[in-house]
């Protein structure tokens, strides 16, 4: 059948520039070999992670969350989502999502003038904690933002570092008090940006786990054949592929509409798909996948952490239902 061309402006494909942006990030991160930086970061050694951060900032990733008038390139959520898929695929450590959330919070002229350019350029990194929540990498971030009852505060420090199930994530509480930056921060907007970025990152993590597992089962021989030729293995990976490929348009679509329901749907779906990818990856790698020294672990543990970060699947489902009422 000969379908005529689309008749309107609705477009649902990344354009050439967006695809090139993703490819250049992928190439840059691939060449950088992120695994060593992740392991350094897990030990509290920041050098390699900070260098990686600078290159990501130079590529313009954080600037996408910062308006042009504050030396940013944004707000451009679609490009941000595209970038965070790549950050997830390469298991980049650090308060990436939180820096984006900070950029969405700091939009009053005063704080914006003061902080945004540095966030866009990568000169500073930020963490953000809602009340009662952990601040990711509070020991590493240069800017610690606390959403307190009376507004957004610049926290004066952080409490002890607690380990996450993902060794590359370090959980801290922010100390109370500190300078009040704005009494009415745009919490909803920040949550939206944080959720979108987390969803995209989770999608990238899930894709990386699938890629690695496909490669592994093609190589690994048991009972005289590559285990990737066993039908049960094939079907499990096919199901992961399906889950990821249906999460992907939700993530990109949410970046276009930026509605609470679409972003929540994307987060729930990408979080579940990435976690399913992790479960399959662990099972099909067998014991080697269960070891910290094998690089697969960097993505496995992140998939679990991102599933709950910035909204558990059930919180996101509740948001979808709320928006639908």
């Amino acid at each position: 059948m000969t379908w005529p061309q689309a008749s309107g402006p609705m477009r649902f494909l990344l354009d050439a520039e967006q695809r090139a942006f993703a490819q250049s990030l992928d190439a840059m991160l691939g060449a950088a070999g992120t695994a060593a930086a992740v392991r350094d970061w897990s030990r509290g050694e920041r050098g390699s992670g900070r260098a990686l951060w600078s290159r990501i900032a130079d590529a313009g990733v954080f600037a996408l969350a910062v308006p042009e008038k504050y030396e940013g390139l944004g707000p451009r959520p679609v490009e941000l989502a595209v970038a965070f898929v790549e950050l997830g695929r390469h298991a980049v450590p650090g308060p990436l999502v939180e820096t984006v959330a900070a950029a969405a919070l700091l939009r009053d002229p005063g704080p914006a003038e003061r902080f945004l350019a540095a966030l866009a350029s990568g000169r500073s990194t930020a963490t953000v904690a809602r009340e009662g929540s952990y601040a990711l990498d509070g020991d590493a971030a240069t800017l610690r933002l606390a959403l307190a009852a009376d507004g957004l505060r610049l926290a004066p420090g952080h409490g002890p570092v607690r380990p996450s199930l993902d060794p590359a994530r370090r959980l801290t509480r922010l100390l109370p008090g500190g300078e009040l930056l704005t009494p009415a921060p745009a919490v909803d907007r920040a949550l939206l940006w944080a959720r979108l970025a987390t969803a995209a990152q989770a999608l990238g993590v899930g894709l990386a786990l699938l890629e690695r597992t496909v490669a592994h089962v093609g190589r690994r021989v048991q009972f005289g054949a590559p285990i990737g030729s066993f039908q049960a293995v094939k079907h499990r990976l096919a199901d992961v592929k399906i889950a990821l490929e249906f999460a992907r348009p939700l993530v990109l679509g949410a970046a276009v509409t930026m509605t609470a329901a679409d972003v929540a749907a994307a987060k729930a779906s990408a979080g579940e798909a990435a976690y399913a990818s992790a479960r399959a990856a662990l099972q099909l790698h067998g014991a080697i996948g269960y070891t910290a020294e094998y690089d697969l672990s960097l993505w496995l543990t992140k998939a679990r952490a991102l599933r709950t970060a910035w909204g558990t699947p059930d919180e996101c489902r509740a948001e979808v239902l709320r928006a639908h009422a």
């Binding site: 379908w3 005529p4 309107g8 649902f12 094939k234 348009p249 749907a265 489902r317 979808v320």
Partner: protein, 380 residues
């Protein structure tokens, strides 16, 4: 990227909505798997056709509106949101028509398509045979050359709509000596009331004759009813099968409407929190399917060929559909056991999804081997 529709597309959508609002029967038609319901659905096709809505994406000369893929998707959303009847012409419109557009002659198109669009001729598919389920290469029904045409003989199974339809299309072995089993098949259209055709309706789980067995005994088919060259049926059918699993068999509009119905049911039942996750997943899944389809449609419009990724699609919608209707029956509690409700009808219909149009096991093999590149194996 931009998900907003143009004002012209929105105007098209509004026109469709207004027409449907004025014409969709207030009381649901009887099940199209019954003689009475089939007749009512055929009349509805005629009404759709009179309004110009029965095949909106076809060229106008065959009864369509030449409206393009985007508007077809919008029409489908409006169609199912309006609670309009199931399409008794689905086999013809989604399976045979694309084949004729790609492989038929202009004469065939002019003869077949307008009558299909008008609901005057309703088509059944005749793919499967008792011993060849998802394994089309094992087909045995045969076509033997005759003067000015062919004579078809053999048995076809699971022929949907055939209990009440007018004509059917399917593959028959036209050259038993061809080298490979998937060669030597021809693609034929034939009359279900022709001499030599016996139609035995077969009841599905709820007893309704949703399909039939066909017994063919030297059924004459003139040359004009062969699509493409005999011997090329397999290749032609594969392109149809890809289509079947792809964009046009299950439009997102269906599932968006189903998810809305489920959400309304959940609310009617007092929004039980124990089912909240499944209801939310139905809403999320419908949105995912919509956005996935838009993306696929735009890749298609950009010139990409949609190949094995249609297998992702098939597994997703068929399992989604069952899960949604299971949730509905669970929400209905004891009422969910009733066999005479719309929910029950849709549930039973959904159960066939993972079986037909290429069983989901085969689709997963395709995803694994052709999309993920895993090594081929013997499946056992």
């Amino acid at each position: 990227m931009d998900l907003a529709h143009s004002p012209a597309d929105e105007a098209f959508r509004a026109e469709a909505r207004a027409w449907l609002h004025a014409h969709v029967p207030a009381v649901p038609l009887p099940s199209l798997e019954t003689a009475e319901g089939f007749a009512a659905h055929r009349a509805w096709e005629a009404e759709l056709a009179a309004g110009g809505w029965s095949a909106v994406n076809w060229p106008t000369r065959y009864g369509g509106r030449d409206c393009g893929l985007t508007r077809w998707l919008l029409f489908e959303e409006e169609y199912y949101a309006a609670g309009a009847p199931g399409r008794v012409s689905q086999n013809g419109v989604s399976l045979l028509a694309p084949t004729l557009f790609d492989h038929g002659t202009e004469e065939q198109r002019s003869r077949v398509l307008p009558a299909m669009a008008a609901g005057e001729v309703v088509w059944a598919q005749a793919w499967s045979e008792p011993e060849a389920g998802s394994d089309l290469a094992a087909l045995r029904a045969r076509a033997v050359r005759a003067d000015g045409g062919w004579r078809l003989s053999g048995q076809k199974a699971w022929s949907s709509r055939a209990a009440f339809a007018d004509r059917a299309f399917g593959l028959f072995r036209s050259d038993p000596d061809a080298g490979a089993p998937h060669r030597g098949l021809g693609y034929f259209m034939f009359d279900l009331r022709a001499p030599g055709v016996t139609v035995r309706p077969v009841g599905r789980l709820d007893g309704k004759p949703a399909f039939a067995e066909l017994f063919l005994d030297e059924v004459f088919v003139p040359d004009e009813d062969v699509i493409g060259r005999p011997g090329e049926g397999w290749r032609i059918a594969m392109s149809t099968a890809a289509n079947e699993r792809g964009l046009t068999l299950r439009s997102p509009g269906r599932f968006l409407a189903s998810a809305e119905r489920l959400h309304a049911l959940w609310q009617d039942r007092g929004s039980p929190p124990g089912a909240a996750d499944r209801v939310a997943d139905a809403l999320i899944g419908a949105r995912a399917y919509q956005l996935f389809t838009w993306a696929a449609a735009h890749r298609f419009l950009a010139g990409e060929r949609l190949g094995p990724e249609s297998s992702l699609n098939k597994v997703f919608w068929s399992e989604y559909d069952i899960a949604l209707h299971e949730t509905a029956l669970d929400l209905l509690g004891e009422e969910g056991e009733r066999g005479d409700t719309d929910w029950a009808e849709r549930y039973v219909f959904s159960l066939a999804g993972p079986i037909y149009a290429g069983a989901n096991e085969i689709q997963r093999d395709i995803v694994a081997e052709r999309l993920l590149g895993l090594p081929k194996g013997r499946r056992t």
